[in-house]
């Protein structure tokens, strides 16, 4: 894919040098193993895709489970409580598994006046959109489901598709609370998509790429600390704006107006129970993780850290060990982001809907535009000076 017009003017050394452009790492792996000749290619490809989907579902479920557990522990300790302590033995690590089993056992109820079809497919759409967005999430430099030059576009586009599912759920529930929640979700997402995308522009201008893998590779200098947040003055305020918008996008407190348990029962979740309800929650936690991954990739160096720098200078690059270090680095950074979201949730009181709108349109959008301007100007100055 050719880079967008605005980016073709960038210096040549900024073009990424990650191995294996295009294609699917799993498919390459399968080809390396070399299946027998008589098996048609499409069956091999289908198996590779199936394995990819399996890994993805496993990762998302694990992330959602441990984010829920972490949320409960963090919120407990912030209120001087202990949080779950019994299930599984050590600090209640199996609490979410127990909860999941309980949710599977629960009666699957559909309200009488509900639109059955929409009611049933809404949680599926919500979950499918986040799974789709996670396809662009690379596990390491050599292992990814899809290498996308415009990965961040795809993540943002599919990430905002959840809104359709939420509106469907609200409409299909045949409940005023649900519809209010869904309308608020729509208003909020429309308001915050703009600053989210604009704030992302600042590191995109700094790095000059839309691909997550390339963005990470470009931040590998300075002993693995040439992170975008240090290389451009506009990136720190852009990160703050991005983070506020990401909180609103993922419906997290202080922007949890679509759920709003104090005034709207549970918003669009009111009529849902059991496993369908837990799909919405999996989506919320997976979206939190995904937003944190974006922040880690474009502001905080992606896979790069002094550890990967040390390995690379020792001549270890590629291979399973290096890939594992990359993955652990990214997951640690992403979970630091998830922790920051939880910290903000338990610190700030909820804002009113008009305050949410004011903040989105009057504050974040102009400030994000200002950030883009500063980022562009400082990049231009840098390219003139150095």
């Amino acid at each position: 894919m050719t880079p967008p017009l605005a980016l073709t003017a960038l210096p040549q050394e900024q073009v990424a040098t990650t191995p294996n452009p295009g294609g699917n790492a799993l498919l390459d792996l399968v080809n390396k193993i070399g299946p027998p000749e008589w098996i048609p290619d499409w069956i091999v490809a289908l198996h590779a895709v199936g394995a990819g989907v399996g890994i993805l579902i496993g990762i998302v479920s694990l992330i959602a489970m441990y984010s829920v557990w972490m949320e409960r522990k963090v919120s407990g300790h912030m209120q001087c409580r202990l949080g779950p302590m019994y299930a599984g033995g050590w600090h209640g690590w199996a609490q979410t598994i127990a909860d999941g089993v309980k949710l599977l056992m629960k009666e699957d109820m559909i309200p009488t006046g509900a639109d059955r079809v929409l009611f049933i497919i809404a949680p599926g759409i919500v979950l499918a959109s986040i799974f789709g967005a996670l396809v662009a999430f690379p596990i390491s430099y050599d292992f990814y489901f899809a290498r996308m030059d415009l990965g961040i576009f795809m993540i943002l586009a599919l990430g905002s598709t959840t809104t359709i599912g939420v509106i469907m759920a609200g409409w299909a529930s045949n409940s005023k609370w649900s519809l209010y929640g869904a309308m608020r979700e729509a208003a909020q997402v429309i308001a915050y998509e703009i600053p989210l995308g604009l704030a992302l522009m600042a590191p995109l201008i700094t790095l000059g790429t839309f691909s997550l893998l390339d963005a990470s590779a470009l931040q590998s200098d300075w002993f693995g600390m040439k992170w975008a947040i240090f290389t451009n003055p506009a990136n720190l305020p852009a990160f703050v704006i991005f983070w506020i918008a990401a909180l609103a996008e993922t419906k997290r407190a202080p922007f949890d107006l679509p759920e709003a348990e104090s005034e709207l029962v549970a918003g669009f979740l009111t009529e849902y129970s059991g496993i369908r309800w837990s799909f919405f929650f999996m989506e919320e936690y997976a979206a939190m993780f995904l937003m944190s991954v974006i922040a880690a990739m474009f502001w905080f160096g992606g896979f790069e850290s002094p550890a990967t720098w040390a390995l690379r200078s020792a001549g270890v690059e590629g291979g399973i060990f290096f890939g594992a270090v990359c993955f652990v680095t990214l997951v640690i950074k992403a979970f630091a982001g998830v922790f920051l979201m939880m910290w903000l949730r338990w610190t700030l009181p909820r804002v009113r809907i008009d305050q949410v709108m004011t903040m989105g349109y009057k504050y974040l959008t102009p400030l994000a535009l200002l950030c883009v301007l500063i980022a562009a100007v400082s990049e231009a100055v840098k390219s003139l000076l150095f």
């Binding site: 963090v74 300790h77 912030m78 202990l82 302590m85 910290w343 903000l344 610190t347 700030l348």
Partner: protein, 189 residues
């Protein structure tokens, strides 16, 4: 409409107050939790706490003072008296009714009913709330021994009395029969 200065002041205030709030929650996060894992560990309970009663059954004399003092009649007690010893049949306290007023504790002449520190009244069935305060029914070991001793003593006394009576009768008989004059000899037969 806000002025430019106010606008940036608002932005600054939002960031500053969020930072202050995050410092406070962060401090609490680092602090040791003040709650305890309840069934395993418990916080100390004050001495004068009015929990579930306990009864020093050995001291109780079945005087019914506590049952009479109870304003809602939740104490039921019954015992069979063997001389000074008691054979306990029942001493129940209905915690469906009890309001933990402690009025049963004061009138006790033997100071044997107390308010305890246990407070958990969770049951699967209401009938289980009718607690039996007796640690044993019937008689305790000490009470049995004391009763046996008392009975033996009583029997001996009876016997002695009977003997004395018999002797008296003998002496009276002897008095009727002039040739038997020895007083102590009658009992030896």
């Amino acid at each position: 409409m806000v002025s430019t200065k106010e606008y940036f002041q608002n932005v600054w205030d939002a960031l500053k107050t969020t930072a202050i709030g995050m410092r406070i929650t962060g401090k609490y996060l680092m602090q040791k939790p003040i709650t305890v894992q309840y069934p395993d560990e418990r916080l100390p309970i004050p001495d004068r706490y009015r929990g579930i009663h306990y009864l020093e059954q050995e001291k109780c004399i079945n005087c019914l003072a506590c049952a009479r003092a109870c304003p809602i009649d939740c104490i039921e007690m019954d015992a069979i008296r063997h001389g000074k010893e008691l054979e306990w049949v029942a001493f129940t306290l209905d915690y469906q009714k009890c309001m933990f007023c402690e009025l049963c504790v004061y009138p006790c002449p033997k100071d044997c009913i107390h308010m305890g520190t246990e407070f958990a009244l969770v049951t699967y069935d209401r009938s289980e709330l009718n607690h039996d305060l007796l640690s044993f029914q019937g008689m305790g070991r000490g009470a049995r021994i004391r009763m046996r001793e008392a009975q033996a003593k009583k029997a001996a006394k009876e016997k002695a009395k009977a003997a004395a009576a018999a002797k008296k009768a003998d002496t009276e008989k002897d008095a009727d029969e002039p040739e038997a004059a020895g007083a102590g000899t009658g009992g030896d037969e």
